[in-house]
Subunit: 237 residues, 2 copies
DNA sequence: GTTGCTTTGTCGCGGCGCTGACAGTCGCTC
DNA sequence: GAGCGACTGTCAGCGCCGCGACAAAGCAAC
């Protein structure tokens, strides 16, 4: 149990890095029953899916691409909370008691997603125990990631946090297996900075150092992770 | 809507500070059906309810007292995640895919709680849609609080974070109405420090300053909040 | 009382990283 | 190609706050 040795797992186990997929474990007839209530939607890289203050009427399930979730601090600074991967749900605060969005969702790639009205999705949740269980798992998983982030921000240096982030993003992607050690993170330095709670300038310096050591490769608005293992050793200084 | 003006609300509304109660909105026959599956348990102040590495087999619902939830960073430092108030659930990671506890729960008062086996509670969740909905609300609520904390830690000074914390703890308590502006927070300086991600020494300094200004009153292992409004103005420097 | 542990109070040092400023570069649009 | 905005690179300055050290004061147990 504990730690899975091989990354080749179609149905993600507990301790594996790959994230919980909302629809894993569902039969095809259940799936089609679910998607019958959804409309598909696509947006292009950089577009905002919703912003603070928007009416919260829908929940989204990501089919393709990645989405950045962030909040705006009172001083106006953007603080990124999480990067959503395909198969995950987002905007689900609409389900509880949010009438207006308190955070912000932005497409990092060209994205494709299902959109459900909160009403429809609530009904699906209550009528499909398996779905409801997946949902609870997924949300719990995300919370555990937030706990880790909280712990990292208060106890680790900026360079270590950057390595953690890149490592986590690389291994949690569903596409990880296909692209192997060349996973491309679609983030600007500013994005990385806001994800780890640091200044853009400090982030730039660390990223350049990582590139000089041949661990990553920098592009404009993207980072290619070349060697996962070295990321970890670098993080330890 | 937005912000509720009066604190006198028995059934907490969306934007109100008081936290979601897991059992609010349930009928008495549903309640007794639920508690039939639980055993009661009590622990005294300071005791650990569970620790990292323990087998995760139960979930807890707090009846009386307060509980501190924290994680241990790799360097061994304790990082407090949240303070659990009566009516809330904790240890619910056991429901998803946690076989061993990754965090730590400690009683801040003498506490009284219900204990459910994860199996029983899962069955309750799937058979009682109302309960399941409450659960989803409560967990969502907690996540929103974590997002706020994340944002605060990276964008606010230590003094402001302390004020935010004291204010939040004072107003989110179910006992708030009875004790009015004299809510007592059962935390040591060290506890406060770990909740806001700061050093104990810095925390002590700020707390003393707050006491000198007559905003709070310090006891050994406890803080009495005397004036909520001044907390907010102090936070703004 | 004495012993011992936990909590609190205070100080100085040093460094990480935030801030502000500015230049260079890339990619887009017209 | 000209212009413009977003992104990247770098540096000097400095301030907040973490850290180590130590003393005092409660509290508990005996």
């Amino acid at each position: 149990m504990g730690v899975a040795a091989s990354p080749v797992v179609t149905f993600p186990g507990p301790r594996h890095n790959q994230r919980v997929q909302l629809f894993s474990g569902l039969g095809s007839e259940e799936l089609s029953r679910i998607t019958a209530h959804a409309r598909s939607s696509r947006q292009t890289r950089g577009e905002f899916i919703y912003m603070p203050g928007d009416r919260a009427e829908c929940v989204y399930i990501l089919k393709r691409g990645r989405v950045k979730l962030s909040v705006l601090s009172e001083s106006g600074k953007e603080i990124a909370i999480d990067i959503i991967q395909p198969g995950e749900i987002f905007g689900e605060f609409a389900l509880v008691d949010e009438s207006q969005r308190s955070n912000l969702a932005q497409a990092l790639d060209d994205v494709l997603m299902w959109v459900f009205s909160k009403h429809d999705f609530t009904k699906l949740l209550t009528s499909l125990p398996k779905l409801s269980f997946s949902y609870i798992r997924l949300v719990g998983d995300r919370r555990r990631r937030m706990e880790k982030k909280l712990s990292d921000i208060t106890s680790k240096a900026v360079s270590a946090r950057i390595c953690e982030l890149l490592h986590e993003l690389s291994t949690s992607s569903v596409e990880f297996e296909t692209t192997a050690t060349n996973y491309i993170v679609p983030l600007t330095h500013q994005d990385v900075a806001s994800l780890i709670g640091a200044a853009r300038q400090t982030t730039t310096t660390v990223l350049n150092d990582l590139e000089r050591r041949g661990i990553i490769e920098l592009g404009r608005g993207s980072i290619r992770v070349k060697c996962l293992k070295q990321l970890q050793t670098y993080a330890a200084f």
